[in-house]
Symmetry: C2
Subunit: 481 residues, 2 copies
């Protein structure tokens, strides 16, 4: 029996897409420069169907690419031409909101924001808030260990997930973590977070809910040069203040965001900081005073504090709209995602500015300054092959600069297909080989999202960047990777 | 050549202990009810010596038990009679304090408190603070993912470790994580935290340092019944207050601690809470007011706020001395370490009280109430075999109750040899098999601390507690475990 026929034995017609036209909507995720039509798209509705799909793929050795909402920015859900694209979109039920123990149990296709909406009647919310939170799914958030504006204070996805249930690539069911923060045994749960679909197919997630803070206010501080803004970020953290969010936007980002949504940003500033403080009313008042003093000390030319909730949301609206607003200056943008030590902000930003001038592409900078997570947005026109190539070249240079100053090639968007080469720079062959051994401990046949997130040693050797430490080759049995 | 002779080829005489008398000090860790004299004790001084010891053990198939300061409470550093006890005690140098990037790079034998002492001139400290912090080593903290009083706000060890460098069991060198909080690729660093010596020999650790809070105050609240104290704990967390520490002590713990060190505790209380708030001066004042209101609402019979730093330290002194103070009422104590949902505190405590009466052993309760981490201290006399057996029986019952109410069998002390049977209750065979596959991905010959932390499926079957979900056997190739 053909693979497709084997799937059709148990999948209803609307859960198995084989015609090219039907599969087209799944050809890419948020990294739309990469496209591929998969062999089949499966849209199961039940856990039993998922298990049978996985077992069928294992029997026919057809690789599986799991997909949530497809909003990922690094190509982690890019289909494989010979593979099965496994959409979890129909698993979109919130199974439980437990206000007593402050947790929610949800299926992987539930949208990030939907969790907070369901928890709101209990005064609770789910903290990690990627910019795409209206659309992105919690399963994808776990797969990518997603961040967001509020992760500086409340942590990444991994810090807010209490448990996951998943299928391994042979159809075996695994339950990791639970309803308390700690779990004995080796920390398999932490490994699943950020595993980019390589280790299992996540079917159920238990997340922490937090009480909505009594009060939240945003300080908007303008600076006449970006170095001073960068220094102020370090100053706030060093003062022992932990903002709920601490974001920076540069001149171009301010301008496009203001044109787009009229947030009231000072368009003559070289950079603005948005610094949110939350907690009890008195506590927020005290922290606002301390943060204001720090911002003044670092030379802010203007400081405004949100007067009410409407103004707080307006201050954030510009930041959250910055990505789509780039559409005003170019048809496409390439969003990078590197993390650097906070102290290196000024140096890295001025190098990015120099490359922008050298290569003739506009670059807006919008980023999670508090944790050093950069998001340079390189504006280009995808219909111009030369511009696409240049955008990718600048992107690679930025990531390599991040490594050079002691940072990493991804903050919160994952490696996917986008950053495989940079992984060869960031890691030595011993570490890459260990990644592959861990992958094999979950997925010995290499069926789940093969080739993504961790480059093969062969690829790194071809890229000319294989690190061989102290003349030692990695384990010979791993040379096939 | 004999194994011992092979070690003597490169180890100086004072780094290789073979005589029984010389090995005696290493026969147990903090769980002294279990003792074993190892085949050899190695006390290397250099990284090169460690690598050669590991390679020699691999060549002779001699298992290795790594050991830090030996303060662990679950027997994770208990020697194997046929094994090599590998002490990292001589790796006790602080390699770097980097105040700009707020981190320290240290060797595994550095004492926990020594890091904070070295960072103090920069106004920084290392947050996780196990009660044993004067003596315990940071390598052991990583191996056990240690907690402490302040972990409610600042996280466990895993949340404060940025990077580790280690040897695998074949002598290969691995560098995981680095100097930023996020790292791309599969999260090997998180797996190392809490891996109890099963995955590698940790040689270097990079930890986060935090700024010392401007102000810290402790509220001491007394309650006339323990249920009200438990409810107040939940009330504080629900009010959105995040104390730096939130600890509970019951009547017996209060009494022995007060007799021991005169902390000024109200000895007529059924329970006290110690609630520390830290941050900016105004912020702490605001939070103290809010927390006081909550404690009043939940019926505290008395509330005192530390008036100065001396009083704050005195309030904590009783809590920190509670373990040794138990020595006043019995020659030995067995310290349990389970975690339960906060809501279950009252129920679990009254069951523990009932067992204490039924079996005739005193049990004091001292615990991290804020995160539901219990530490019942079962007082007994180790020279009385019957009492030891009873203490172990009660301990097992407490852990099983923790699982029953939705908690876990360890909060921060690890599984070691102590909780292997309870792991069979907490996990199904699919999860246990996955732990073993992960272990094999790091240590294919099973040389590092074999048999600890994760029970074999065979052991669970003998214990009568192997969970076989849905009639499916785990992978047949894993039946040897």
């Amino acid at each position: 029996m053909h693979f497709e026929a084997a799937l059709a034995e148990f999948l209803p017609a609307d859960a198995l897409l084989i015609e090219t036209a039907a599969k087209r909507p799944y050809e890419c995720d948020g990294l739309s420069a990469y496209r591929e039509i998969p062999r089949v798209v499966c849209l199961p509705r039940t856990r039993d169907e998922v298990q049978k799909i996985i077992q069928t793929c294992a029997a026919y050795l057809v690789p599986i690419v799991p997909r949530g909402a497809g909003t990922g920015l690094s190509g982690g859900a890019l289909p494989l031409a010979h593979g099965c694209l496994l959409s979890l979109a129909r698993f979109n039920r919130i199974l439980e909101i437990d206000p007593d123990n402050r947790l929610a149990v949800v299926e992987p296709g539930v949208r990030n924001l939907a969790i907070s909406e369901a928890a709101a009647p209990h005064g609770l919310y789910y903290a990690p808030d990627p910019s795409s939170q209206i659309a992105c799914s919690i399963g994808g958030n776990v797969a990518e260990n997603s961040g967001g504006v509020h992760c500086l204070k409340y942590g990444l996805t991994v810090h807010n997930v209490l448990g996951v249930k998943l299928f391994l690539s042979d159809g075996q069911w695994l339950e990791l973590g639970g309803r308390t923060l700690e779990s004995p045994g080796l920390d398999l749960l932490a490994v699943i977070n950020g595993s980019e679909g390589l280790l299992g197919v996540i079917m159920e997630i238990t997340v922490k809910l937090l009480p909505k803070p009594e009060s939240a206010k945003v300080l908007l501080a303008a600076f006449t040069n970006i170095e001073a803004a960068g220094a102020a970020v370090a100053g706030i953290i060093e003062a022992g203040i932990t903002p709920a969010g601490l974001e920076m936007m540069d001149r171009l980002a301010i301008k496009v965001a203001e044109d787009f949504c009229h947030a009231g940003y000072p368009t003559d500033a070289a950079a603005i900081l948005l610094c949110e403080l939350d907690g009890g009313v008195d506590e927020v008042a005290a922290e606002i005073a301390r943060a204001t003093a720090v911002l003044q000390r670092f030379g802010a030319s203007e400081i405004r504090c949100s007067r009410d909730e409407a103004e707080r949301l307006r201050f954030w609206a510009g930041r959250k709209a910055a990505f789509p607003a780039i559409g005003r200056i170019a048809p496409d943008y390439y969003c990078m995602d590197g993390t650097i030590p906070r102290r290196e902000l000024a140096r890295v930003l001025s190098q990015i500015e120099a490359w922008s001038a050298e290569y003739g592409l506009l670059i807006a900078n919008v980023f999670h300054a508090g944790d050093g997570n950069l998001h340079p947005l390189i504006a280009y026109d995808a219909n111009d092959d030369q511009q696409l190539a240049t955008a990718e070249l600048i992107g690679a240079k930025i990531l390599e600069l991040c490594i050079e100053v002691g940072g990493t090639v991804t903050g919160e968007h994952g490696v996917g297909v986008e950053k495989l080469n940079q992984m060869c720079l960031q890691f030595g062959s011993a570490e890459l080989a260990q990644f592959h051994r861990l992958k094999a401990a979950f997925d010995p046949l290499n069926l789940l999202n093969p080739g993504r997130a961790v480059p093969t040693l062969h690829r790194c050797a071809e890229f000319g960047a294989m690190h061989v430490r102290g003349g030692q080759l990695p384990h010979p049995e791993l040379e096939r990777f």
